[in-house]
């Protein structure tokens, strides 16, 4: 029990902190895109802006994902769900969250596979700027892994809720 509590606390704290930092990524994306239009208008267009903006975008939503789960912003189809009691919701979530976990597990497997390839062959983006791809893929691995931990944390919280035990 205590182990579970500690797990929830650690995972939620880490993901909260990461999310709070990553949310300012919107300004990084704005900055890159504005620089892109400035450089295009006044100097030569930059080779790197579009790709950097894309990398930022991926980091933004993958690393921010767990925090968005904490905020409850991932929409659910609440035709029935909306009518259920909190306890009932927790019971059903306890089962269906395994689908979410499976999905994230398979994603993580694919992410790891792709990252390993990236490292093995020193994969570069096939563009003129040719950035190495492993940094963004490692970021994605981390984000998906944290998402997986967050899903498990949600499961534990639901179990506590069903048992009527305080966290």
């Amino acid at each position: 029990m205590n182990l579970a509590r500690r797990f929830v606390k650690i995972v939620d704290t880490i993901n909260y902190r990461i999310g709070r930092v990553v949310m300012y990524g919107i300004f990084v994306m704005v900055g890159v895109l504005l620089w892109s239009s400035i450089s295009k208008t006044f100097f030569l267009p930059s080779l790197w802006t579009l790709e950097v903006a894309q990398f930022c975008m991926v980091a933004y939503y993958i690393l921010g994902g767990p925090y968005s789960i904490q905020m409850g912003s991932n929409v659910r189809m609440d035709l029935f769900y909306g009518e259920w009691s909190d306890r009932r919701k927790a019971q059903i979530d306890c089962i269906t969250v395994f689908f979410l976990i499976t999905y994230l597990g398979i994603m993580l497997y694919g992410a790891w596979d792709s990252t390993a390839y990236s490292l093995q062959y020193n994969e570069r983006s096939p563009t003129a700027w040719r950035p190495y791809l492993w940094p963004i893929k490692v970021t994605m691995c981390i984000g998906i892994f944290l998402m997986l931990l967050q899903a498990i944390s949600e499961l534990i919280k639901d179990i506590f809720k069903i048992k009527g035990v305080a966290l």
Partner: protein
């Protein structure tokens, strides 16, 4: 019958071309293959980025997620020594027949086979497409006009063109038409005029530069090594016939199309950079060849073959080379 249906071999082949282009460059051959192979085998054709994004295409084939691929080495970013030569290696070939000659008679087949075997992929057959021209929104009449143009092109061609102030941009093939309209791109250096018309790029650009940076695209069919080995011999043979028929279709379709659309095409205005000025680009290409050759032994070997081939063609005179 279900018994036969179950033993039917099914391949997923993803081409780097979108549906409109694939209609010419690959679909007829695949349809023919499927018709002949009947209950024994079916190749399902998928278009650019349909199942996996182009960036992940090689790995997907290496792993077996996709069984076969039609692409050039360069845009698929194969992890091999010969990747830079796929697509448009600047000025490596002048006519579309150069490519099969280089592969079949000058030893490129063997080099490619060796390189791809190392990474678990079967190099099936190389073929040629069209020359590489600029299609742009604003006219290009001099090298000066190239400066600052954001252009969709092949990675290696892009690397080469940066010295002339071109800003190469790589996006998913299917997004190019829209990207020109949303202002992400000023133009395209990816194809000849046939493709510009076929895939709709002629609708979003206004000018076609008659100078090209390569006379013929080089690309190939590839397959996952295990999947290929599992094929019975007669299907391997049928596959070869189908690929050859695809190569042949493209030879006449592009060769005739390029001329016809330059002469009669209503959508693009032709511009030309004078030969003396364009010679700067051709000379830069020779320097670029040497830079690439210095990168590895295999690359040096391929570059030497290009040099040998072009020297032979010059010596042979007309119709191989004029002037």
């Amino acid at each position: 019958a279900p018994a036969i249906a179950q033993s039917k071999i099914t391949w997923r082949l993803q081409t780097y071309a979108g549906p409109a282009l694939a209609e010419h460059v690959v679909k007829p051959a695949i349809d023919a293959f499927n018709k002949v192979a009947g209950d024994e085998m079916e190749i399902e054709l998928y278009f650019a980025d349909q199942l996996v994004p182009t960036g992940e295409l090689f790995r997907a084939m290496q792993k077996g997620t996709i069984d076969a691929v039609q692409s050039d080495d360069d845009s698929m970013a194969s992890p091999t020594e010969v990747t830079v030569f796929g697509g448009y290696f600047p000025f490596a070939s002048r006519y579309s027949l150069d490519v099969p000659v280089l592969f079949n008679q000058y030893g490129l087949n063997e080099i490619w086979d060796e390189e791809y075997s190392k990474v678990g992929v079967k190099h099936l057959s190389a073929g040629s497409w069209d020359p590489c021209h600029f299609a742009t929104k604003d006219p290009i009449n001099s090298l000066e006009d190239l400066k600052g143009k954001r252009v969709f092109t092949f990675p290696t061609a892009g690397r080469f063109l940066t010295q002339f102030g071109v800003v190469p941009v790589t996006l998913p093939w299917e997004d190019i038409e829209v990207a020109v309209q949303t202002g992400e791109l000023d133009g395209i250096a990816w194809s000849g005029i046939t493709e510009d018309y076929t895939v709709g790029w002629a609708d979003v650009t206004n000018y076609f530069l008659t100078n090209n940076i390569s006379g013929a695209w080089a690309g190939s069919f590839f397959a996952n090594m295990d999947r290929y080995q599992e094929l019975p011999d007669h299907l391997k043979e049928l596959l070869k016939l189908a690929m050859d028929s695809s190569h042949y279709y493209r030879q006449w379709w592009y060769w005739g199309g390029e001329a016809a659309l330059r002469v009669n095409g209503p959508k693009m205005q032709l511009t030309t950079i004078p030969d003396e000025e364009w010679a700067t680009v051709e000379n830069a290409a020779l320097k670029f060849w040497d830079e690439i050759a210095a990168e590895s032994e295999t690359k040096a070997k391929v570059v030497n073959i290009f040099k040998q081939y072009n020297a032979d063609m010059v010596k042979a005179g007309r119709p191989y080379r004029y002037g």
